[in-house]
Amino acid sequence: MSPPNGSGEPVDRLVDPLFCGEEMELSFGPQHPATHGVLRLNLRIEGERIVGCYPIIGYLHRGTEKLFELHPFFQNVPHTDRMDYVAAATNNLAYVGAVEKLIGLSVPPRARYIRTILAELQRISSHLVWLATHAIDIGAMTPFFYCFRERERVLDLFEQYCGARLTLNCMRPGGLPFDLPAGWGDACRRFCEDYPAKIAEYEGLLTENRIWKRRTVGVGVLSPEAAVDLGVTGPMLRASGVGFDLRKARPYEAYGEVEFAVPVTQNGDTYDRYLVRMAEMRESTKIVLQCLDLLPATEGGPIMAKRPRVLKGPKGEVYHGIEGPKGEIGFYIVGDGTPNPYRCHVRPPSFMNLQALPDLANGHLVADLVALIGSTDIVLGEVDR
């Protein structure tokens, strides 16, 4: 039995000029420089055109959700780092937010501001990785190096704060493990002031470039209805015209207190997803600067909520989702009175966004598939957990 076709519609054979009369099954295998991880796509192609795309995942499954059940709440934070390893702080934030919701802790204001700053810096870093890899897949090599140069500065900021660059472990249920080191605020501010000029550089290289536009405009159009039906969230959803952002819809942390815009475009193609993410980087810079301005007012305040030494989760269940760089990342935690969670399920945004890929790829050329995978912005650590 052949794997299911993406959309179930046959390709119009009489009209398609690239039809060469024979369907070939091709495994865009787990080891491939363009799949951003161990993603396997079974493609059925006719000539150059894709008529079916069947993703096979699980090559990076590590049993994270089972690991959550074995340890108390605060010890699970390092496990969350490793799901979406490019955006560890937002993973941490989603988890500790869910735990706080379950137990009923209220986070002090200073911690909320710092967490917001960390989450937005992480969004910038994740989008930089996305831009670097997307551009190099399409052939432009230099944005890769420029983006990683900026990302170094963000990672340096993280390193100064919590000691690690990638797997941060920078939040705890109830607040933060430590306060900001001296001078961190100024370093962060300097980065945010330098950063918009760098975004302008990337945009100068790509946004108006006719080759970039020919590769991305009209490729992989996702209609708003299809996006909502498939559960797509994040920049992919906003590029299709649905302006849903959890930071505005259900504000958490300090997002209710800062002003920022949510970029939304209408066409839903790869170029629009690119524009949305570039605009989001600018908005993140604004959020960080505003939070840095709000910080001195809470100088010397507590950074950890009043909480018992051992956190026991009450019997009950809670779901808490936040807007991560790739979409809505959510944790569904069931507590049973012990310090360990009874069940902790993750709603990974990349997993849901990957569901859209077969529909998007259908009818496109194999060369477009690479652009599409890049624009979906998946991280296999999150898809497979």
Partner: protein, 361 residues
Amino acid sequence: MVLAVLPFGLEALREAAGDTLFYYALSPALKILGLVFLAILPVITYLVLAERKILGFLQVRVGPNRVGPWGLLQPIADVMKLLVKEDTIPSRAVRWAFVLAPCLVVAPALVIFSVVPVGPPSSTPGGFSGFVTDIDTGVLFVIAVATIGVYGLILGGWSSNNKFSLMGGLRAAAQMISYEVPQGLALVGPLMLAGTMSMVGIVEAQRGARVWYVFPQLVSFFIYMVAGVAETNRNPFDLPEAESELVAGFHTEYSGMRFALFFLGEYANMIAVSAVATTLFLGGWLRPFPSVAWLSPLDVVPGAIWFALKVFVFLFVYIWFRGTFPRYRFDQLMALGWKWLLPLALANIFVTALIKLWLAR
């Protein structure tokens, strides 16, 4: 010292072999061997290093700098590595084609250099002139020989017994053949202005016209450059050999020195395209503003140096393109060649002819 001994050695050879044999067979043979081994091959190997360094600089990093100062010994290390690599031939590959293919890519690229003039013809008969030979149909010869290079790609892709190599090889061949047409038509522009197809004649005509042909034939130059980049499978037209695409192209199954020969062929093609562009558009060995008298102190610089400088400018632009642009998808690439460059080249010929007729009235 070699240069001092050389005339005596050549004289002795001439005495021994007789005039006809010497002038028509031995002298060109020696010249082209010298040109290829002493000039072109070192330039190619160091072009590889230059590309890596320049790409590095464009990407705010230094390129190779460990092997020798500024990485100058890196190409030697690369060559040695490729020589000692295991030489594999797929078990069901077509052996004769597999072995022949890299040679068919390299040889035509090197043969083109036999008609490209790097310096003026010698003022004394029997002296050292700046080209191996000058034939009356130089431009036609260049185009014809460059086309033979396509056979190498097709044979390489087909003989590898690998479905993806075949697809990649066919794509590369289709791309090269498609861009041959606008390339050839773009070369007609300077031909019309010069009135001769001989390469030396075209440079002389540029000296006579007191302007490099790039200025009156800007559109032609642009078409030739774009078609040249596509011919040599370079970014932004490098889909057949891009790593992040589905197939690694026609040279998937090649390793070691054969693979090196393919790359040698690509870089040799790059230099050949640059050399032809220099000759036809940038005045070959002429110094800038060849007829402006007060710049004549610049004449002390030999023509070959001017030629080399201009070729290096082209090569730098090639590398600059590679570092800046994304790549075209294959159908967009073909559409660009057939739908845009070809009509533009034809229009250019038409307009040039009209203007020439009008000026001749």
